[in-house]
């Protein structure tokens, strides 16, 4: 339409926003992405870096597998590396009950064509001699991978820019309004621009846009309590995750061991703070020392967290607005969005360009919160019970 600044405005320069910009630009759309800080500086840049296929929500596998193929192609797509490593993922159970849960996850993954190995007893110790005595059984998925979140988003943003997307860092969107069949986007100290479509990929800050259009979600901020050790000899190749979430750990070839774990921590999107309570760090250190006892004397050198958006059913919001044609959402990834990023970008671009995507997104509609909120088991597991905000 004549007079429009560009076809699509994307609000939020996280992984979802930059990959959407990438695929839209590749389809020849004129795109401007607005990010209040630097790209990839919030949860996209400070997450654990897991590209995990095991243990996902069943309805997410088509999107997840699509995304995985894009991660495997990251270098060709972006022209840069992001420390992508096909490390495999080892899901470990401490007892028979947990092993039964692993079996459930394994069947679900296998139904989507993912190869899962079930390993127990001596074989477990032979293949992964560094596992602690408390590990009873495990499932292993060889295709799962890891990447460096600090590098991935800026690399994808540069690739989008090379395809013609305009990436505007340090520009805060103060208002988004309907205007005719398009949108007006107001920028802090940088005027007003008009677009045909808007993608709301504003992470923990996304409700401020959705609610302007009469729709909402019970989104709340939280963060993963992370720590990292000094470098030690590289032995632990697969990422290791305990079924109860007490340990989510991986070693990078440089030698550092990165650790996340539940329960998650509070974070504050207004003050832009995500402190890690030291008691959680200590608890996580204990869990890691028991699961990987060879690390007992390794030193923890740093902790960090981030500001992630969570929803009580532990599923993201992805897809078109239910109130306003031309508005699309991608937020609330509940701490598992890193793996989905490129796939979300590809599918959203298809929705915007073609009006439809071969990747099913209906389970993630913002409309699902109309009839009350389902609280998932995952939610109960990942948060401190008394402190959890159920909105």
């Amino acid at each position: 339409m004549i007079g429009r600044s560009a076809d699509v405005a994307i609000v939020g320069g996280g992984l979802m926003g930059v990959w959407t910009a990438f695929f839209l630009a590749r389809s020849g759309r004129r795109v401007v992405l607005f990010e209040k800080g630097p790209v990839g500086a919030q949860s996209s840049g400070v997450n654990f870096g897991n590209l995990r296929l095991q243990g996902r929500f069943g309805g997410q596998y088509p999107l997840s597998l699509r995304s995985h193929a894009l991660w495997e192609d990251f270098e060709a797509l972006t022209g840069e590396t992001c420390e992508f490593e096909a490390t495999g993922h080892l899901y470990v159970a401490a007892n028979a009950d947990e092993a039964a849960r692993l079996e459930g996850y394994a069947r679900q993954a296998e139904a989507h064509g993912i190869a899962i190995e079930r390993v127990g007893g001596n074989e477990l110790r032979r293949r992964w001699p560094w596992l602690g005595e408390g590990v009873h059984a495990a499932t292993y998925s060889a295709r799962d991978a890891t990447a460096n979140p600090r590098l991935a988003t800026p690399a994808a943003a540069r690739a989008a820019a090379r395809l013609g997307a305009e990436i505007r860092e340090g520009v805060r969107v103060t208002d988004v309004r309907r205007e005719g069949d398009g949108f007006t986007v107001e920028l802090e100290g940088a005027g007003t621009l008009s677009f045909g479509a808007v993608v709301n990929a504003a992470g923990a800050w996304a409700l401020s846009i959705a609610e302007r259009f009469g729709e909402s979600a019970p989104l709340f901020p939280a963060g993963p309590p992370h720590f990292v050790t000094e470098p030690v000899p590289y032995r632990i190749v697969p990422s290791v995750q305990a079924v109860d979430g007490s340990v989510i750990a991986r070693q990078i070839p440089r030698g550092n061991v990165i650790m996340a774990g539940y329960p998650r921590t509070a974070s504050d999107p207004v003050l832009n703070r995500a402190p890690v309570p030291p008691a959680k760090t200590l608890a996580g250190m204990g869990h890691l020392a028991r699961t990987l006892p060879a690390l007992r004397h390794a030193h923890v050198i740093r902790v960090w967290s981030g500001i992630e958006g969570y929803l009580p059913d532990m599923l993201p919001v992805i897809g078109p607005s239910v109130t306003t044609p031309g508005l699309f959402h991608a937020f609330g990834f509940c701490g598992h969005g890193f793996q989905l990023g490129p796939g979300v970008g590809a599918a959203l671009a298809e929705l915007i360009v073609d009006g439809t995507s071969p990747t099913p997104l209906t389970p993630f509609s913002i409309g699902r919160f109309g009839e009350g909120v389902a609280v998932s088991d995952k939610f109960l597991k990942e948060f401190d019970q008394p402190a959890a905000v159920t909105s």
Partner: protein
């Protein structure tokens, strides 16, 4: 009774503890070291027969007095040596004592965390045999050892002269003292330096003694590189157009001090940029208040030297007592404030006379190591910044390049990093930010979490 935690048993922490003891409070005094005294007034290892009079020189009596004071209050203080405070969470300190985790609850927190060395890297600075200046002194005072047989003292600091004299008087061969600040800058700083004539006289005396001992003192020369195959064999220097090499087997490198502010950061202190020190310093009022129930004293608040540390320790304790319903005599407070202000003014003079060589830091060659923990070169930082959407702020540079992400968390490379980032971004030094503090303040072993905290 008010529960007071003091972190650091140097001159500021000991004086603060003494003032609280006098008011009938039994403070918890937490210190990383095995013995009290802090860095400058440290106690040598037991069984070591060091000539303390020779080592401490004009400060020997002062050293003895501080340790005498500590001995006098020892049984009225909950003194916990070998205790690292690694995190602050609300009104609780998380500590590690000899491999065991613990917590200390407090109503008021007084941080007397001291200072650490500030160094400008140069090519070769990671070779075995290169120590920070403070490290060279600590090894001597703690263990009675020299860092080498033939030592060069290089940098920009009045402590270069003092350390060289200490080494010389205990029998080491001092190859040279190389000060990067021109002599003219020292003359220009004289008005501020006159704030403490006694210290100024002492500094001039160090210089005279070194000259008398035949030790070359070079002003305005800068290190081009520290050379050697397996270790240090020499320092290549440049002064104007002239370049030459001094033979030595160890180098003590120091460009002044920087406050250890990580705990203040975690405890919620605000920071402001100080253009004279070219540092971000925690904000306090004249008495050391830095926030609700948070007090800072000594070099950890602002570099002031040992005397200022003692006075500011007493002053911060007085402020703490006043805030907890025990008003202090106005005259005492006034005298202490004047003393601290005068001594810190002197240090500002020193910061001009022995200036941080920002240009040398900014010009660190591309292939030189900047971050020694992570092995990141200055060139890697510049290349990351030069790409599209490249970072222009130190925390983002850290995120993209890993610089400052290692064991020391940027405590060593941080100052030079800021100059390199400012130069590459074409920004003012104050505009590139400061590395944010994160727990743990120093590395802690995983086993610390294997036992419940008690």
């Amino acid at each position: 009774m008010t529960r007071v935690a003091i972190v650091g048993a140097g001159p500021a922490g000991i004086r603060a503890a003494a003032a609280l003891v006098e008011a009938g409070i039994r403070p918890v005094l937490l210190d990383e070291a095995a013995r009290p005294g802090g860095q400058g007034y440290r106690t040598p290892s037991p069984g070591l027969d060091l000539d303390m009079a020779a080592l401490m020189g004009s400060e020997a009596a002062h050293h003895a007095r501080l340790h005498g004071l500590f001995a006098a209050i020892h049984d009225r203080v909950d003194y916990r040596p070998e205790t690292l405070v690694w995190a602050v969470d609300g009104r609780t300190l998380h500590v590690a004592t000899q491999g065991r985790a613990g917590m200390v609850a407090f109503d008021a927190l007084l941080l007397a965390t001291g200072a650490t060395d500030r160094v400008v890297p140069c090519p070769g600075w990671t070779k075995p045999g290169v120590f920070t200046l403070g490290g060279a002194q600590a090894i001597l005072k703690d263990q009675g050892c020299f860092i080498g047989r033939r030592v060069a003292f290089v940098g920009s600091s009045p402590l270069l002269l003092l350390a060289a004299l200490q080494y010389q008087s205990l029998g080491a061969h001092v190859a040279a003292v190389v000060d990067t600040t021109p002599f003219g800058a020292k003359l220009a700083a004289l008005p501020d330096l006159a704030a403490s004539p006694r210290t100024l006289r002492r500094g001039i005396a160090y210089r005279t003694k070194l000259r008398a001992a035949g030790i070359p003192v070079h002003d305005g020369a800068a290190p081009v590189a520290i050379e050697g195959r397996d270790g240090v064999e020499g320092v290549r220097l440049r002064h104007g157009a002239r370049e030459w090499t001094i033979a030595c087997d160890a180098v003590a490198l120091g460009h002044g001090l920087k406050p250890e502010t990580q705990l203040a950061d975690l405890a919620g202190a605000q920071f402001a940029y100080d253009p004279v020190f070219r540092q971000w310093l925690p904000e306090t009022d004249a008495d050391g208040r830095a926030g609700p129930s948070l007090y800072l004293a000594g070099d950890g608040a602002a570099i002031g030297g040992a005397y200022a540390a003692e006075a500011s320790g007493t002053l911060a304790a007085a402020a703490l007592l006043a805030d907890h319903g025990r008003p202090q005599p106005k005259a005492t407070l006034r005298r202490l404030r004047q003393e601290v202000a005068r001594l810190r003014r002197f240090q500002r003079g020193l910061a001009r006379a022995f200036a941080w060589p920002a240009g040398q830091a900014a010009a660190l060659p591309d292939d030189a190591t900047l971050c020694r923990c992570e092995g990141i070169t200055a060139g890697e930082v510049r290349r990351a910044m030069a790409q599209p959407l490249g970072p222009r702020e130190v925390n983002r540079v850290k995120a993209i390049t890993r610089v400052g992400m290692g064991r020391c968390q940027g405590r060593i490379c941080g100052p030079a990093l800021a100059d390199i980032v400012a130069a590459a971004a074409g920004l003012d030094h104050a505009a590139v930010g400061r590395l944010r503090g994160q727990a743990p303040v120093k590395p802690i072993p995983l086993v610390l979490g294997a036992e419940p905290a008690g």
